[in-house]
């Protein structure tokens, strides 16, 4: 039986999807600003973070209102709880995108250390993880969510590899230190974005069947290495 307040839950879900799309777009734009040394685009990313901050507040406010006035049970309750947690992860993704954009502005003042290949590759992987995790809001797919957790190890490995490379650069050519450090921070940001995607994926598993897989062997094993 359809209830008059079901539409509120659908709107809540739509807001989450919108926030997810906005966060993905912010990261994509920040990486484009880096690769193309586009300061204007970087500025727009920084200004655009406001939208994600507002969405987090709106989503949390609606979650609290819904829990207070509709007393949701079972999967409705799990959706509201997961929505609050995911909005926090997505807001942090937005902050990482802003951080990348700020560093892109700094880096645009000098020629790149080397062609940007690894960082965009990492970013693509992190964004695919985020996309797969968020798609579970449209159609819950536990297997797909767990697969996201597995891919986090790859991003971690790439991050560690880049650190080693950049460290070598800095030792050999001290004049590259300031640029290398910015790139290390960007790599760290992308690694954090992948972590947030993993968090959201774990939340999707909870949404699907109420199983809390955080810190469990199911996800721990596959991310070690």
């Amino acid at each position: 039986m359809k209830r008059f307040f079901d539409a509120e839950l659908e709107t809540f879900r739509s807001q989450l999807i919108l926030m997810g799309e906005t966060a993905i777009e912010q990261v994509r734009a920040a990486m484009k600003a880096l690769v193309e040394s586009d300061r204007g685009l970087a500025d727009r990313v920084i200004a655009g973070d406001d939208r994600l901050d507002k969405l987090e507040v709106e989503i949390d406010d609606e979650a609290v209102r819904y829990m207070n006035l509709r007393a949701p049970i079972a999967s409705d309750l799990r959706l509201v709880i997961v929505g609050m947690k995911a909005s926090h992860d997505l807001e942090r993704v937005g902050d990482e995108a802003t951080s990348i954009a700020k560093r892109a502005i700094k880096l645009s003042a000098e020629p790149p250390l080397k062609p940007y290949i690894d960082l965009p590759r990492m970013a693509t992987m992190a964004l695919e993880m985020l996309r797969d995790a968020l798609d579970c809001f449209l159609q819950v797919d536990e297997a797909r969510a767990i697969a996201v957790c597995k891919r986090d190890a790859e991003v971690d490995n790439l991050n560690r590899q880049l650190y080693r490379e950049l460290t070598s650069f800095m030792i050999e050519k001290p004049e590259t230190i300031s640029r290398a450090i910015e790139l290390m921070f960007i790599s760290k940001s992308i690694e954090r974005i992948a972590d947030h995607a993993t968090n959201i994926a774990e939340e999707m598993v909870y949404l699907s069947h109420g199983r809390d897989v955080r810190h469990s062997e199911e996800v721990k094993k596959v991310t070690s290495g």
């Binding site: 209830r3 008059f4 006035l69 007393a71």
Partner: protein, 286 residues
């Protein structure tokens, strides 16, 4: 749920023989965005004999919205509800003080006919009470017939309209001749709502309408209340906090005959001003 037909206040008699001092304009608002007030109540008190049941209640209940009245047993919420259509007068020895206006008209004016009040302000009770010897159709139309309506077309139209508004038409349209008591509990309650709606009231009072119903029947009544607010002012007494939170726009908390707090429902249930309100809605009262 079927779309509600537009309610036309056909044949509404004034409360007193003289025309009302401030004619009601359903579309009026005192300023853009201001709520239209159905009940304006000030300094209202009520006694059952020597015992005072309501103390100096001041409240403005909005039109075409749902207002919930909550509070512990004995707080005066049912008494207050009954005062809105002078039902308390059926108990001997009651008296009131203060003012109670419906769309600007004093309900307790000296020339006011209580029967007319009760037609404009209908009531549905906790225990559904279809007239046992009457059919479903006769139950719905009894109010109209008592008011002298004989035209078969009007009766038929109003029968269908009321049963549709009460979300019962599809379930009973082929069995209108069956006794009202042959329906399930939830259906009987919707029949009583249809009966109240048939005389085209402006207000529907509901005294714990779902207390005797199972969750599915309760959900159907709540959906009905949600739809009715487009055209009717609804005041509902309920001891089910979650129901009050779900269906109402504003909530009034009564305790020991006093109105303790009255605000938009979200505020009452999220951050009430009064600690007694907070204790009650959080289940820590007593």
């Amino acid at each position: 749920m079927a779309e509600l037909p537009q309610v036309k206040p056909v044949g509404t008699r004034p409360l007193a023989s003289a025309p009302p001092a401030t004619p009601r304009n359903p579309a009026a608002a005192t300023a853009a965005g201001a709520m239209e007030v159905a009940f304006e109540i000030s300094g209202f008190s009520l006694w059952y004999g020597a015992s005072q049941a309501l103390h100096d209640v001041d409240i403005r209940i909005p039109a075409r919205a749902v207002t919930a009245i909550i509070g512990p047993s004995g707080c005066g919420k049912s008494t207050f509800l009954r005062a809105l259509n002078r039902m308390h007068e059926l108990t001997p020895g009651t008296r009131i003080a203060g003012e109670l206006r419906l769309f600007g008209e004093n309900l307790y004016g000296p020339a006011v006919d209580p029967a007319v009040v009760r037609r404009r302000v209908g009531m549905v009770f906790q225990k559904s009470n279809p007239f046992p010897t009457m059919s479903i159709a006769e139950n719905v139309l009894v109010g109209l017939r008592l008011n002298g309506v004989r035209d078969k077309t009007v009766l038929q139209d109003r029968l269908q309209e009321s049963l549709r508004m009460a979300a019962l038409w599809d379930e009973v349209k082929d069995v209108l001749g069956r006794p009202g008591s042959s329906l399930s509990g939830g259906q009987q309650q919707r029949l009583c709502i249809a009966r109240a709606l048939a005389v085209q009231p402006e207000v529907l009072l509901m005294d714990e309408p779902c207390s005797a119903l199972d969750p599915i029947a309760t959900a159907k009544i709540e959906e009905l209340i949600h739809d009715l607010r487009a055209n009717f002012t609804v005041v509902i007494v309920t001891h089910n906090m979650q129901q009050a939170a779900r269906v109402s726009d504003r909530t009034a908390f009564f305790y020991l005959g006093k109105l303790i707090e009255y605000d938009v429902t979200r505020t009452i249930f999220m951050n009430p001003s009064n600690p007694q309100t907070e204790a009650y809605v959080a289940g820590r009262f007593g």
